[in-house]
């Protein structure tokens, strides 16, 4: 089975991915709208998996919807809610339904979400999940049994280039590549000179890197991320630029900044593409792409 996303990665073009979030409930209207809007513009759409540990419509169901609508889904899978049996079973199902891209994540803690008393599973971690994908592809499961019919995935993971301390994250990044990651979507990067340093290091590994771009929607939102989101660091001058936007113009300013960053990443060929996260404002992704010279 061919992954169109994998073809895009291998083509050498500047790859663009974005996100769609399944709803809290069964009303898929908004998600459908976002998929419709983005499916012909991006090379892949991540479907988030109970993001921030908030229970939602499943990423597998969301990825299926993207597929049915003619988009290219990237199934996000965390290790928080399923043990190795359930994860493998879901990979078999995904593969059987033509979902051929998977982003392997450890997952946020249960206690950060809306089911704070639930059991966090973490039977596997992100690097072990990647290795599991590769094992299933060889026709074996983790219990050493043979599979009747195998899977095929373009598998990826994430890295946080702004983490402090950084080296433990880089060691984990190398383990993810060793375990079989073909692509990496980074946590949001804002200091592109710093990101270039990360890329000088990351380029030695056989993996495609998509720089994470999170749309800034206001100066307080940027400060909130600095305070509360691990590994996200919005530089002071960008916060000031956001604050300088005229009343009602903050989102427009955020789009301008995101576009400027994408342009620089692309023009300087810093990495292989971008992963645009508009966090609830997915309808703005085409505007960000336009600002970034991608449309």
């Amino acid at each position: 089975m061919v992954s169109l996303f994998k073809e895009a990665l291998d083509s050498g073009k500047f790859v663009v991915t974005s996100e769609v979030a399944p709803p809290k409930g069964t009303n898929l209207e908004k998600m459908r709208h976002h998929v419709e809007l983005l499916k012909d513009k991006v090379d892949g759409m991540n479907v988030t998996d109970h993001q921030s540990s908030v229970m939602r419509f499943p990423s597998l169901g969301g990825a299926l919807l993207v597929k049915e609508m003619g988009g290219e889904p990237i199934l996000q899978m965390t290790c928080r809610d399923r043990n190795r049996m359930a994860l493998q079973a879901d990979l078999l199902f995904a593969s059987s339904r033509g979902i051929n891209n998977v982003l392997c994540l450890t997952g946020d803690s249960i206690v950060l979400g809306d089911h704070k008393e639930a059991k966090g599973v973490f039977d596997l971690d992100s690097s072990q999940l990647l290795a599991t994908v590769r094992r299933l592809e060889k026709g074996k499961d983790l219990g050493k049994s043979d599979l009747d019919g195998t899977v095929s995935f373009c598998a990826g993971a994430i890295v946080t280039p702004e983490a402090n301390p950084l080296e433990p994250q880089l060691i984990k990044f190398e383990k993810k590549v060793e375990a079989g990651a073909e692509f990496i979507q980074t946590q949001a990067v804002y200091d592109l000179d710093h990101f270039k340093e990360f890329m000088d290091y990351a380029r030695q590994f056989p993996v495609k890197i998509l720089a994470g771009v999170i749309l800034l929607t206001s100066a307080p939102m940027a400060r909130f991320m600095n305070k509360n989101v691990a590994g996200v660091s919005v530089p002071k001058d960008l916060i000031e630029e956001m604050a300088s936007a005229p009343k009602g113009g903050a989102v427009g300013k955020g789009i301008e900044i995101a576009g400027r960053m994408i342009n620089r990443i692309r023009n300087e060929r810093m990495c292989d593409g971008v992963h645009i996260m508009a966090i609830g404002r997915e309808e703005l992704v085409p505007d960000i792409m336009k600002a970034g010279g991608l449309l």
């Binding site: 966090g120 971690d125 080296e167 433990p168 060691i171 984990k172 190398e174 383990k175 691990a230």
Partner: protein, 215 residues
């Protein structure tokens, strides 16, 4: 020395558990819960007062030297009368003590405490969990620091993306185990150990409930 670390249940829960019982015998313990001030003599006496104020009759109280050992014949004899008068026992020990006592008495036992973890006092009044008795020890590869216990997610291949400035994503009071392990291994010149891709853990090293016959 490792200790059983406990925290008193809420008053509402204790009230609910004792709702059908009028006459109560209260038991504390002289070891861990004395150290943590959750079930030593002062706490047991204070519990007696609280129960009396709620209209319960406290038939007696005692602080056993070691509640997870069987009660001696002397103790049982000394308190036989008061124990016999009680409808229920309120046990201010860890769950090991509660279960040991429950096996010896033919009456309802009610735990007054929640047993949080097996831990060590690492600074005055500060207790840290050190081992979850997983049955498949890996600390030979992590510089003697246990990620199964000390990492909130029990990860064995390095930190998650939620760690920030050496702290855990769930609580900035909690250290990121993998930052500690990284620092230790770096100091020892053994970061190579952290680079090894660890296989999924065996969660059935000793299938629960643990039971073993030695020799």
């Amino acid at each position: 020395m490792i200790r059983s670390i406990t925290r008193q249940k809420s008053e509402e829960e204790i009230d609910r558990l004792l709702s059908g019982s009028q006459r109560i015998f209260v038991i504390g313990c002289g070891t861990c819960v004395t150290l943590t001030h959750t079930g030593g003599m002062p706490e047991v006496e204070s519990m007696k007062e609280k129960l009396s104020l709620k209209g319960k009759l406290v038939t007696g109280l005692t602080v056993l030297p070691v509640a997870c050992d069987h009660m001696t014949g002397e103790i049982l004899a000394e308190y036989a009368g008061q124990m016999n008068q009680a409808d229920a026992f309120l046990i201010m020990t860890c769950a090991f003590g509660v279960q040991t006592i429950a096996r010896q008495l033919k009456k309802m036992v009610v735990p007054a405490l929640d047993t949080l973890f097996i831990g060590k006092e690492t600074a005055p009044g500060r207790f840290d969990e050190v081992c979850t008795q997983c049955g498949t020890c890996i600390i030979g590869e992590t510089g003697g620091i246990c990620p199964v216990t000390s990492c909130h997610k029990g990860l064995v291949n390095g930190p998650c993306g939620g760690t920030n400035n050496g702290k855990c994503e769930i609580d900035e009071e909690k250290d990121c185990a993998w930052t500690l392990i990284y620092n230790r291994l770096k100091e020892l010149g053994r970061l190579d150990s952290m680079r090894v891709l660890q296989k999924p853990r065996n969660h059935q090293g000793e299938p629960s409930p643990g039971k073993i016959r030695l020799g």
